[in-house]
Symmetry: C2
Subunit: 496 residues, 2 copies
């Protein structure tokens, strides 16, 4: 059996190493690749995808998993590895390669069509492509064979979660957020926005942001920071790269973007070095990943204790620019809440509603309860219901996100799950570290990193997200921590 | 048969695409990878090497090659593809995988030992590692099975060339160079070196260098320039990356380094886009590759017509620095000839002697005509004989180059071949473009690029290097063009 265990682990690790390469090629494409290199990069990625697919569907892998599971008696880690490897193997063998190829092709075409449709504000141009992607996505879900097709898709991003569970959680969340948003909108005392729109030279933004992420514990010898059109985090353990972009007339974009990506990066740098190449040694789920980035960005980076420490440093980083702004004014300015059309620019409160809207719509599309043709109208109606505003164009509405064109259905919910998991983890961290605020005021951001390292990062995927949440916080995922955090914080800022 | 041709081409192209990925990982490691990422990078490269090896030794590939060759009647391109694929396949199947692994391990250890030995100026520390590498290299050559083991090694870098042919060429070259060097050393009129050692800010060096390589025809949308410890060129066709390094007190390093690497890059960018993924569509050999870089660096970049155009631009690029230096003084300064200890810093004349020395020594080592223990002494003796100087330390002698520790035996000759091929191509180019010097004086560097594109680049590896040389220049490789170029140029500079 020891031989089979070794053989199993070796095969899994090989797939992991190749997946690291795939990710690196993507980083390269987004950050440094010369413009004309795209076609060759596509061929390289296709070659690697073929290799990885053949390793994932290798019959010997299926036999090893079956034999080892039948033998039983393994330790917790190996059991978790078998569970994760089995899910990956069974998905890979169930989806016919022709369907994978056809869906990839349809998505590539849909992304081009989406870009053109967005540019021209013409949903009709995108519609047939969306329909085709949905059709092939339904076929994919059917091949996987879960009773609810949405669950088959969700499993890829958030294993252990179900559409039913999401519906329950999101409806509670929505019911808590809409009245909160009403109270915020009714308040007279609005935070100033002008202070964030002064001139902040990119180089000084970079220097300040690098200082913050270093203080968080981001290891610069095991990672790097670059610029890219869309910020993201790439890599794992000892080579984790984050990107950002700078707007010299809007401080938030790079600053909170860097803290957000560094939150993802700390997770990857914090995995168990002995297990990070094993199936259950990698990060738990997209929702847990997002909990790390959002916790750092919002629960730490937009908190009063954080700015008590960092505001004087920020003022020195931009000499003269913020001399007339006190820390309280600044704190309130980075915590403004205001319904807006674009998800990626939304604040902590409304962001969740943007996600719930997308979840409800993609679910209805997948289950054929909504026709693609009726999507723009449904989008506007939900925006009105949730946020009280309607996009004047589809470009600022249904066409704003790339996800559906890329076949990413079941992905949006993980963003809101990140907020929920993050708030619930934070509640527990506050219990474990009673003087947390005092320590944040002293700039000891590493306290947060160490707690996350110990309770979240090092476990990797040993437990699925719902189980991890219970292990760490002592109870199942709940909307209460997020709602009470938001109610307290925004009640105090807006004075109700 | 058409089916088999397709299948054959598909398999070859897949190997090519994966080889591009291997090269990109190496570029990344040398240019942007965080320090701690080395171990993971090693695992990624090992995973890819395993995949590529299994594709290269795939029995179906052997059958396809045999069937297609037996069927015959193919066009020239397919014949060349079969020839190249057969060489790669047969090398891959002949060398036992255990030997490949053992040699790779021995080389990895030898490189570490070489670095330490060089640092400590202690050849004895390197000697056992060199012996081990030589032993495994002899075994590798024996597995390949050419009558002369050196030819088996050479074949990997310079297919179509033999040790016997190299001996003949290099002895003529040496016999021509040594008296030339004597006359140069006897001349009274030495070029000034001080002008090159003034202060040249790195940013201005980069800007000027980028202008020159753009004028040469380097396509910046299909490539990029970065800094690295050791300059190199990576990639092919639409993604070709060059690197350089800057010494603010020595103009030559970055300037001629960039022109050199851009010469390599133009070759890769100039391959046939329809054939670059096929076995005979890639660059011909290391010697032909080096002919491109050396032709640009020396025959163009160190020529009087080039500086007639670029010297005023250089003066403007470094305001005030070269005001007191006229173009003739500058031209002579970049063409100084002086025996020196270090190959990579050698001039056009002595560089070849450094290579011939290494060729003769590595040949003697491989054939057991020289013991590793006697190598330092043999090195000093040959330095004395060829260049009239002796290294005071092994660090400046036998320990200066990484190649032997990396198992690169049979590789050095390609550097000198590059000089010979380059001079011979240039002679033909001058015949085809009679007003070449006038056009260079006008800054029309693209004339050179277009000629090289048409006569060298587009052929890829359709012909092996000796055949390509004959096709392009109308006669076999000869030392005469290089010798007469050097005699004329240096006779004029040194006044004899």
């Amino acid at each position: 059996m020891a031989d089979k265990v070794n053989r199993f682990r070796e095969k899994c690790r090989l797939v992991h190493d190749l997946a690291e390469v795939q990710q690196l090629l993507d980083w390269d494409q987004q950050v440094v690749m010369p413009r004309k290199g795209a076609e060759q990069r596509g061929l390289q990625q296709a070659a690697l995808a073929g290799v990885v697919h053949s390793k994932l569907t290798d019959p010997e892998m299926g036999e090893l998993i079956a034999d080892l599971k039948a033998a039983g008696g393994q330790d917790e880690d190996l059991k978790a590895d078998l569970r994760e490897a089995e899910r990956a193997w069974s998905r890979a063998v169930k989806i016919p390669p022709e369907l994978v190829a056809e869906r990839a092709k349809a998505c590539a075409m849909a992304q081009v069509a989406w870009e053109e449709a967005k540019e021209a504000d013409d949903f009709a141009r995108f519609r047939p492509h969306l329909e085709r992607v949905l059709e092939l996505t339904r076929e994919t879900a059917a091949a996987i064979g879960t009773p609810n097709p949405y669950d088959a898709l969700l499993e890829d991003y958030e294993p252990g979660m179900s559409e039913e569970a999401l519906k329950a959680v999101f409806s509670q969340l929505r019911e808590g957020l809409i009245p909160l948003l009403d109270r915020i909108q009714g308040a007279a005392n609005k935070p100033a926005q002008e202070v964030l729109k002064r001139h902040f030279p990119a180089q000084a933004q970079e220097r300040f942001g690098l200082q913050v992420v270093a203080d968080m514990g981001f290891d610069g010898a095991a990672g790097r920071l670059d610029r890219s059109a869309h910020p993201f985090t790439s890599g794992t353990l000892a080579d984790v790269r984050i990107t950002t972009r700078y707007d010299e007339h809007f401080l938030n974009m790079a600053l909170f973007g860097m803290i957000h990506e560094a939150g993802h990066a700390l997770y990857e740098q914090g995995l168990d070095p002995k297990r990070f190449r094993d199936p259950s040694g990698q990060a738990c789920s997209l929702g847990i990943h997002e909990s790390q980035s959002r916790l750092w960005e919002n629960l730490i980076g937009r908190s009063r204790p954080f700015w008590a420490c960092y505001y004087p440093k920020l003022q020195s980083a931009f000499p003269g620019v913020l001399d007339d702004v006190d820390v309280e004014t600044f704190y309130r300015s980075v915590n403004v809440c205001e319904p807006s059309l674009i998800r990626v620019e939304a604040d902590e409160v409304t962001y969740n509603l943007h996600i719930i809207l997308r979840f409800e719509l993609e679910s209805a599309l997948l289950h054929r309860q909504l026709e693609a043709a009726d999507l723009p109208e449904a989008w506007r109606a939900k925006m009105k219901a949730f946020l009280g505003i309607e996009p004047p164009t589809d470009r600022e509405g249904v066409l704003q996100d790339i996800h559906w064109s890329a076949g990413l259905i079941g992905y949006f919910p993980t963003y809101a799950l990140g907020n929920l998991f993050g708030a619930q983890f934070m509640e527990t961290m506050r219990r474990d570290v009673p003087d947390l605020d005092r320590r944040l005021e002293a700039g000891e951001l590493r306290v947060v990193k160490r707690w996350l390292n110990e309770y979240i990062h090092v476990h990797g995927r040993r437990y699925l997200a719902p189980e991890l949440c219970e292990k760490v916080t002592g109870r199942p995922l709940s909307v209460q921590p997020a709602l009470s955090y938001l109610q307290t914080k925004y009640g105090e800022i807006y004075g109700f």
